[in-house]
Symmetry: C2
Subunit: 505 residues, 2 copies
Amino acid sequence: MDEQRIRCSDLRARVLSADEAQAYIRDGMTVAVSGFTKSGDAKAVLQALAARVQRTGDPLKINLLSGASLGETDAIAAKAGIIRSRAPYQSEPVLRNSINRGEVKYTDQHLSHTAEYVRSGCLGEIDLAIIEATAITETGGIVPTTSVGNSPIFVERAKQVIVEINVNTPAEYEGLHDIYLPAGRPNRAPIPITRPADRIGTPYIPCDPAKIIGVVFSTLADTPSSIVPADHDTQRMAEYILEFFDHEVRHGRLPNHLAPLQSGVGSVSNAVLSGLAASRFENLEIYTEVMQDAVFELFGAEKIAFASASSFTLSQRMARHVNDNLARYRDKLVLRPQEISNHPEVVRRLGVIAMNTALEVDIYGNVNSTHVNGTHMMNGIGGSGDFARNAGLTIFVTKSIAKGGRISSVVPFVPHVDHTEHDVDVLVTEQGIADVRGLAPRDRALTIIQNLAHPDYKEALLEYFKRASQHGGHTPHLLTEALRWHQRYVETGDMRVRQLAKVTG
Amino acid sequence: MDEQRIRCSDLRARVLSADEAQAYIRDGMTVAVSGFTKSGDAKAVLQALAARVQRTGDPLKINLLSGASLGETDAIAAKAGIIRSRAPYQSEPVLRNSINRGEVKYTDQHLSHTAEYVRSGCLGEIDLAIIEATAITETGGIVPTTSVGNSPIFVERAKQVIVEINVNTPAEYEGLHDIYLPAGRPNRAPIPITRPADRIGTPYIPCDPAKIIGVVFSTLADTPSSIVPADHDTQRMAEYILEFFDHEVRHGRLPNHLAPLQSGVGSVSNAVLSGLAASRFENLEIYTEVMQDAVFELFGAEKIAFASASSFTLSQRMARHVNDNLARYRDKLVLRPQEISNHPEVVRRLGVIAMNTALEVDIYGNVNSTHVNGTHMMNGIGGSGDFARNAGLTIFVTKSIAKGGRISSVVPFVPHVDHTEHDVDVLVTEQGIADVRGLAPRDRALTIIQNLAHPDYKEALLEYFKRASQHGGHTPHLLTEALRWHQRYVETGDMRVRQLAKVTG
Ligand SMILES: CC(C)(COP(=O)(O)OP(=O)(O)OC[C@H]1O[C@@H](n2cnc3c(N)ncnc32)[C@H](O)[C@@H]1OP(=O)(O)O)[C@@H](O)C(=O)NCCC(=O)NCCS
Ligand SMILES: CC(C)(COP(=O)(O)OP(=O)(O)OC[C@H]1O[C@@H](n2cnc3c(N)ncnc32)[C@H](O)[C@@H]1OP(=O)(O)O)[C@@H](O)C(=O)NCCC(=O)NCCS
């Protein structure tokens, strides 16, 4: 055993195998684990639990809380049928299917809210927290790995804690993290962050060693991110955003180094952020929840002065680069609890520029980030609402079409709303950009349709809007047709009206 | 002239009649006025402008910004056709109709956002600010009357300012207000409010006297609020909320004096808040945007330790009482800019309990606060989103039916979303209360239907949900039927399926 990994000597006697550790988990427990968009998740114990249940057939279901999505552990646990409920985020196809069949109860939460719900007690008690760590300090402090997520509040509130020490993580992770939790109310003070680089807490998660019932050594790697590289469309979207930033700077509405940037999960957001590498902007700051590959590309292009987030979610190649160059990034990065990386107080104070990906937007600027066809969960709202709602400038990006053109991502009416038109400033597709700040709904509709819709759908959208407007109202709609595009897709696999359909009405 | 009303002697020479002052307003100008939910609005100059345009037929349209709704001045201006665009809130039937006809471009904003939009410049320049005041200080500082609203940011940004001194307002208003504006970014500091009673600014709106081009004396009174008194239904709703608070206190999830309370505009919110007068709770604090009559009833019942808001919106009787007893309220009240009363930073820090009224809610807990039938604007989102989104506990109340039962306010699918299910913790109708914190959508649906729906609609909602669930999905819906209830109301004036309709399908 590497004594540097467990510096609190009392805990050295509590080393367990993953299989021994999983035995602490009993049916009906609420288990809260580290992990944020596939990074730094507690893997070994949950996987051992899944294996046990599959081996023995024991009936066992847990309520599983985390920071955000776990890597393949979410799939393994879902396959083993051990998840009764899940919050606050997920993105694994196997788990997603269980959710959409109604087998797993998924509560889709703003990622900054989960800690408050835990604190208030309304999610019940946390029986066990399982936290991946790179080391345990002399006083029991837990040093996280590639994410912080909700681990600090889980450790504070859980009755018992198991630490998974991942021996493949470099010891140099220590010092990257900044752990700060707001005090309970009514004695809560302002969060003293006024710049992304401000450090306000400890480099480890404080934990009473008496609470740590086991320490498990693990060698399981994070599930790498599978980001699709930039393509022609996402490059166009990045160009529109850069032109827009330029325009705002020229009009004195943004400073030269812009404002701290947030960029959401997924391929589109990653590609758009990469686009900044070729821009004239310098000394940028990042205040986001997930650093995808693009952030490190921007470091490579010497565009970034500092980056703050709650996790790394990297391709295998980029993860290796970061691990090998930690010394270089030490003073340029910080990983925080998601409650702080996404906190409305800080996001609003800094005037963050929030860039997130929509599944679809409607002609008035309402955004659906989560529900395919209004019913089937994709990933969850994640932090998009934390940022969109409180940012200085809120941008949503989406390709104008999906599924080879059979879906228009600009629709008359989104069948699920995650972000209301009140929270959306700018929308971007590969067709163009729509700055809808200060516009009334009818003007928003014309701008959105003209600038964003794919040519295959533009006429139909305009026609919908014109006919709806004849019926009056602040936000004209035709209730009988508002959801028809989605219905048509469900029935025929294509939102477009085919010739036949045109003839028969 | 009362010299105490204009203590800055330079300005005494700039006294104008309302009619002289209105001549400064030219076609196409952006005019920003004081006023928040009918209180402390600048009345004289706009009314004189409307009269001039009606007299002369001059073509003149302005972009009109305010804190929130103006009193009858909104109606007078709308009737005269002088409003081209309007933001961020309104509640006057005449203006509302112009908006719904598409004649006035209305931008419905979160009330804490308008100041940020003004600051960023994306609403264009403010040509003229008109601010109702009770006095002007030696240095040009403007002492507001019954509301603060957006006046501080308007005064800071406007090219020119006109002050309307309302000589019927008691001089004792001075000292009630606390004016603080966050600095421009990136040098913004935390807002140092940690208790509702904290005073952090000046008792007047700082203003360079050189910017004040005119001072107008006015005697026009605020339009009184027309709140409908509590009825059996609203009393039931108040009882459910009180029982819920009791329950939360017993389970250690709320302290004995609860948390600072916010209560929205309208009759329902007012009645619910009044209900606290008969409760066991004491030493309550209010952190809200509008103090309606209920707040002063609670003061009368000695329930409130302190109240912070951005305006008074009172019945004639209560307004008289407050004016006559200002000395009594001096240390118990503060009026702040709406950017501060509604600020996400403070709302989240204090863990405000937000209680707002919905027009309707859907079975998953999404809330429509603004659009009748999804198309026609009622009042606007106001501050409901500022509070709901960032509060410690978010409650929405609504009667289960409207229009004599022809409308169910619990529907399969809201045709407009102002608050998403992510932001809604507890829902209340006269039928019951639904605590949906931590529940997955299918469980939310059953709880909402069982606890909140009116008996006339409960079966139909359950039936919709059950059939939808057969098609799977995280949030089951039937796209062809989701909006049918509203469509039926538009077509027949009744959401209920009549016998005939049942027979023919
Ligand atoms: C919306 C989101 C799923 C987009 O992901 P992405 O990888 O950038 O985008 P893609 O274009 O590759 O789309 C992902 C999938 O959605 C599908 N899709 C896109 N638009 C669609 C639409 N309008 N209707 C149905 N499906 C759509 C794509 O076809 C693709 O499907 P596939 O997985 O079968 O190939 C992702 O950004 C997300 O999960 N957002 C919510 C959380 C969030 O915003 N967090 C931000 C803070 S972390
Ligand atoms: C939603 C809101 C209009 C309710 O107002 P209220 O006075 O408490 O409630 P009432 O029950 O009297 O309803 C007001 C009107 O809406 C109608 N209404 C209520 N539910 C309805 C529904 N589901 N569909 C259509 N109309 C409905 C009522 O019949 C009534 O109509 P009337 O004016 O013709 O009599 C009001 O709270 C509001 O404007 N909210 C948005 C802003 C806000 O929440 N601000 C809070 C922070 S200030």
